[in-house]
C-alpha cells in the first residue's frame, strides 16, 4: 500500500500537467473538471499495481485518463454550447490587456480543441501531449492509419478555427 502510494505520488508529479490538460479538454466546468481529475487520480492508484511496462508509462497513464474521461462524459454530458467556458489558466485569469501572446493563443487553442468532435479531440489531445501514432492507436483501440486520418481532420478544423488557413 505504501509503495503504491509512493509510486502514485511519483506518477502524478510526472504527469500532472498532462492529466490536467487532458481533463480540461473533456470538461470545461471547473467543479466537474476537479471531480474528473480526482477520478483519474483514483483510477491510477487502482491500476498502477498491474502496470507491466508493456507500453510506456505515459501511454498507460493517458489510457487510464482517457477512459475515465469517457466515463465522465457518459455520466455528465457537456453543458450546452455557449455555456461552455474555457478552462482557467495557471496564471489566474489575467485581464485581457495583461494576456501574453502565448496565453492568448493557448486560450484560443484550448477552446478550439474543446469544440472538436469527440473522436477527433481524443486524437488531437494525445498528439499534443507528445504521443506518436502507434501510441495513440494503442490508447484508443483504433488502427494507426485511422489515427492519421483523424489527426489530419482535427488539424484542418483547428486551423480553420484559429484562422490559420489550410
Amino acid at each position: 500500500m505504501r509503495d503504491n502510494d509512493r509510486e502514485l505520488e511519483r506518477v502524478l508529479s510526472t504527469h500532472a500537467a498532462a492529466l490536467s490538460r487532458l481533463a480540461a479538454s473533456y470538461e470545461s466546468r471547473p467543479a466537474l473538471r476537479e471531480e474528473l481529475m480526482q477520478d483519474i487520480a483514483f483510477a491510477l492508484w487502482r491500476a498502477l499495481p498491474s502496470f507491466r511496462r508493456e507500453a510506456s508509462e505515459k501511454t498507460f497513464v493517458m489510457r487510464i485518463a482517457t477512459n475515465r474521461a469517457l466515463s465522465h462524459l457518459a455520466a455528465r454530458p457537456p453543458a450546452a454550447e455557449g455555456l461552455d467556458v474555457a478552462p482557467e489558466l495557471v496564471d489566474a485569469a489575467p485581464r485581457p490587456d495583461e494576456l501574453t501572446a502565448l496565453t492568448q493563443i493557448a486560450r484560443r487553442l484550448q477552446q478550439a480543441v474543446h469544440h472538436l468532435p469527440l473522436t477527433l479531440r481524443q486524437v488531437v489531445v494525445l498528439a499534443l501531449e507528445g504521443l506518436d501514432h502507434e501510441e495513440i492507436a494503442r490508447v484508443l483501440g483504433i488502427s494507426s492509419g485511422n489515427v492519421g486520418v483523424r489527426l489530419h481532420r482535427g488539424k484542418s478544423i483547428l486551423k480553420a478555427e484559429l484562422g490559420e488557413g489550410a
Partner: protein, 191 residues
Amino acid sequence: MSDPDLDRWTAAWRAGTPDAAGLAGKARRERRWLLAWIAGDWVVGLGLIGFAGWLWFADGSPTMRFAAAGIVVLVIAALAFTTLNWRGSLAGDRASAAEFLELAERRSRARLRYVRFGWWVLAADLVVIAGAHGFVYAEEGAARLPEMIAMSTAAILAAAAILWWWGRRERRRAERLAAMRRAMLADGERT
C-alpha cells in the same frame, strides 16, 4: 516524425495548463471516501442482519421468522450487488478506449436489467403487502389498516421513485456510451 502544425501548437497547449496541484491528496481523499462508503454499507447490512437475528429469537412466531429471513436475504443480495458493482466500476480502465466503451455499455445495460428486476420485486412486494393487510384485517379488524396502508404506500412510492430515477439515469448513460462507441468505430476498423 516531426509535425510542423503540432510543433507550433504544442508550446501554446502547454502554456495553458490548468492548475493541477494536490492531485495525490485528491486521490487519497477519494479513496478514504469510497472506503468509508463501503464500510457504511457493511455496517448497515450487518446491523440489519443483527436485527433480523433478534426478530428470529425474541419473538419466534412464524410471521416474524418469515420477516427475519426476508431481511437477511435482501441484505445479502444488496451487499453482493454493492460489492460486484464496486469491483466492476473500474474494470476496463487499462483497456483501449474502444474496448472500454464496449465494456462500460455492457455494464450499463446490466444495471438496466437490475432496475427492471427491481420493478418485478416491487410488484411481488405489492402482492405480499396486500396479503398481509388482508391477514391483519381478518385477524384484528380495520383498526390498524389506515396506518399500515399509509406506511406501505410511502415505502412503495419511495422505492418506485428510486427505481424510476435510477432507470432513467442508466438508460441515458447507456445511450451516451453507445453513441460514443458508434462514433469511435465509425471512421474505421478496430485494431
